[in-house]
């Protein structure tokens, strides 16, 4: 494999995919997956609770295994790949960031709602101090107009982020919108630009290709779509498509296909499909990790989970507000029975 790469891929199955398995990853699973990703020459592997460091909670779901053990496991089998961690200020703190760095995590992705970058400077600066590569991860990107996104990306750049991401957390953006966003960033920031898609509208691949066309060089994927909602841009498919297009990823296609089929597929509780719930996420613009929580609330209150998601979209709920789900479900049930 050549070291020359046009784009650098971050595999998020062991972080975003944590949502799809209700945060039940084990050390054995992480060892197997991380080793295979390392062998396939994937540059970055993200490992954390789905909601980032310290995400294990009643609000988002308790981790079966302490994420620090999972990070340690991934580091132990990755001699080529770098291990990345996600941190949402307001959930995780500098304390957990330091613990992750001490275990060998090399990249810190600091995630904020697209309009709230100014909660991130402390964490970005500290990650730098710890010698980590830094990413400003602007979530729920569709909720801000392009000029606001540009302003927030510039803030991330000013805090010392090496890369800024357009994160389509709801899988809501259409290819034209991704084009507009990436191209605006390309014209206004000097740092790397990344794209993180969700496949709720079956547009993750199209959006990723548009992002690459406009100059994004950091791309997230999840093998076998192991991510929240309908999952992310399917990594092994992206590798194949890039190869056909002459875009060098440096990742071994066959090894990724084997990982997807032999290791990831058996650990999925159900195959990652575009279900009516994940489709509704993309349609209504709702944070992808809400899907499973809404399904559970819908069963509990005897309502349609789509109604819950649509209502959450109307209320402009942001990432992390999982506590709204039960409340909205209860309200819908009450109105129905009136």
């Amino acid at each position: 494999m050549t070291n020359e790469r046009d784009i650098l891929i971050t595999e998020v199955a062991l972080r975003d995919g944590s949502h799809a398995v209700s945060h039940q990853f084990t050390v054995e699973q992480v060892l197997k997956v991380a080793k295979a990703l390392n062998d396939a020459n994937v540059p970055y592997i993200e490992v954390s609770h789905g909601d980032g460091l310290a995400g294990s909670s009643l609000q988002y779901g308790l981790s079966r295994t302490n994420e620090l053990e999972l990070i340690e496991a991934a580091v132990s089998v990755a001699d080529k790949s770098k291990i990345a961690v996600l941190l949402l200020p307001g959930i995780g703190t500098l304390h957990e960031l330091k613990e992750a760095a001490n275990l060998g995590a090399k990249m810190a992705r600091i995630a904020t709602h697209v309009t709230e970058a100014d909660v991130a400077p402390q964490h970005i600066a500290y990650a730098k101090e710890l010698g980590m590569e830094t990413v400003g991860f602007l979530m729920m990107n569709h909720m801000a107009p392009v000029d606001k996104l540009v302003e927030q990306a510039k803030l991330m750049e000013s805090y010392g982020a090496d890369t800024v991401y357009v994160v389509d957390s709801a899988g809501y953006l259409l290819p034209g919108q991704v084009r507009e966003r990436i191209s605006a960033l390309k014209q206004s920031v000097g740092i790397n630009i990344g794209f993180h898609g969700h496949n709720n509208l079956s547009l993750a691949m199209a959006n990723t290709l548009v992002a690459i066309e406009e100059g994004a060089t950091r791309i997230d994927g999840s093998v076998r779509c192991l991510g929240a909602g309908a999952g992310n841009t399917q990594t092994e498919v992206l590798i194949a498509v890039c190869e056909r297009m002459g875009i060098k990823t440096g990742v071994d296609l066959y090894k990724m296909m084997d990982l997807a089929e032999d290791i990831i597929a058996p650990l999925l509780p159900v195959p990652q499909e575009i279900t009516k719930d994940s489709l509704t996420l993309g349609y209504a613009g709702v944070y992808s990790s809400f899907a499973l929580h809404s399904k559970r609330a819908a069963e509990r209150y005897g309502v349609d989970s789509r109604d819950i998601l649509i209502e959450l979209g109307k209320r402009k709920v942001v990432g992390g507000q999982e506590d709204m789900i039960v409340e909205v479900a209860a309200e819908i049930a009450k109105n129905k029975n009136r």
Binding site: S57, L58, Q59, P89, G90, I91, T93, L94, H95, H113, T115, E116, D118, V119, P121, Q122, M143, R315, K316, V317, V318, G320, Q321, D323, V326, E327, A330, E331
Partner: protein, 295 residues
């Protein structure tokens, strides 16, 4: 009835909101608002309302023989508080610390003020702490709480630059106070900012896990209802959004805090609950001081 004299240190949003609330108190008499910026809107307002507006900081206030106070609210910053706490202690003035400095013990107005009436410096924890710790305590006094987790969602507009630049302080301080004041064996706090327009009211969700076999649903319901009334006595906009949910050994409580709209807008329930709690605590201090005078 005689009143206890108080002064407000800090002429920003919090200081100005305090000033308006103090104007209504039957136990407290505001003498001065203290700032460092002669041009500040807060000081101009204070003078308009007939209070002394000191623009030479805490040292200027202490040096002026015409001004005095038994209690000072410190609504400056954690860094400034370290100095203010020192000089106020020397001057024998009680301090209600609204900053994250936490020189003195954490006090939640509805839970543990009685234990700290004699302290010279107390700290107000955080907005999320003032809103949720009463509920952790309400559950814990009936069924021992093993774990309590709170999620505070506030409108982006009501989160100032201080909160944003040091958001870890919120999660760490609130987590600790859930344990120390709320009584939970283990505490966790999460903060979320929501930029929706019009701005959303402050919402807090409190999850508690009680000891296995100790769940007393009836008792907890009653305790929560009583505690809600206690908090409402000084924060009228404090309410449960929906009935608490009981599942196994888990109790989930949903809170909304609407501000009084004194100086700060109504959606800033997070700031309002801090100023309201500050005034409530000062009134408890005042009752205690007045009681001593009469003895």
């Amino acid at each position: 009835m005689s009143k206890v004299k108080v002064a407000v240190l800090g002429s920003g949003n919090i200081g100005t909101d305090l000033m308006i609330k103090l104007g209504r108190s039957e136990l407290l008499e505001l003498t001065a608002v203290i700032g460092i910026d002669p041009q500040s809107d807060g000081l101009r307002r204070a003078r308009e309302m007939g209070y002394a507006g000191v623009d030479t900081g805490i040292d200027g206030f202490l040096a002026d023989p015409a001004l005095d106070a038994d209690i000072v609210f410190d609504a400056t910053s954690a860094k400034a508080h370290l100095y203010n706490a020192k000089v106020l202690k020397k001057a024998g003035i009680k301090v209600i610390d609204m900053t994250p400095a936490a020189v003195g013990p954490y006090v939640c107005a509805a839970v543990n003020i009685d234990e700290h009436l004699e302290k010279d410096n107390i700290n107000l924890i955080t907005c999320g702490g003032q809103a949720t710790i009463p509920m952790v305590h309400a559950v814990n006094r009936v069924s021992p709480v093993e774990y309590a987790e709170i999620v505070a969602t506030i409108s982006s507009k009501s989160a100032g630059p201080g909160t944003r630049a040091n958001i870890d302080e919120f999660t760490e301080t609130t987590s600790r106070a859930i344990e120390v004041v709320g009584g939970a064996k283990k505490g966790k706090a999460i903060m979320i900012l929501n930029p929706a327009e019009p701005p959303i009211m402050m919402r807090d969700t409190v999850y508690t896990l009680v000891e296995e076999g100790k769940m007393d649903e009836e008792g907890i319901r009653k305790s929560i209802a009583e505690m809600t009334e206690v908090v409402q006595s000084y924060v009228p906009g404090y309410q449960l959004r929906t009935e608490p949910i009981f599942e196994g050994n888990k109790v989930t409580i949903f809170i909304q805090v609407e501000g009084a709209g004194d100086y700060l807008p109504k959606y800033s329930g997070n700031l309002d609950i801090m100023t309201a709690a500050g005034v409530k605590i000062a009134e408890e201090f005042a009752k205690n001081l007045l009681k001593k005078e009469t003895v």
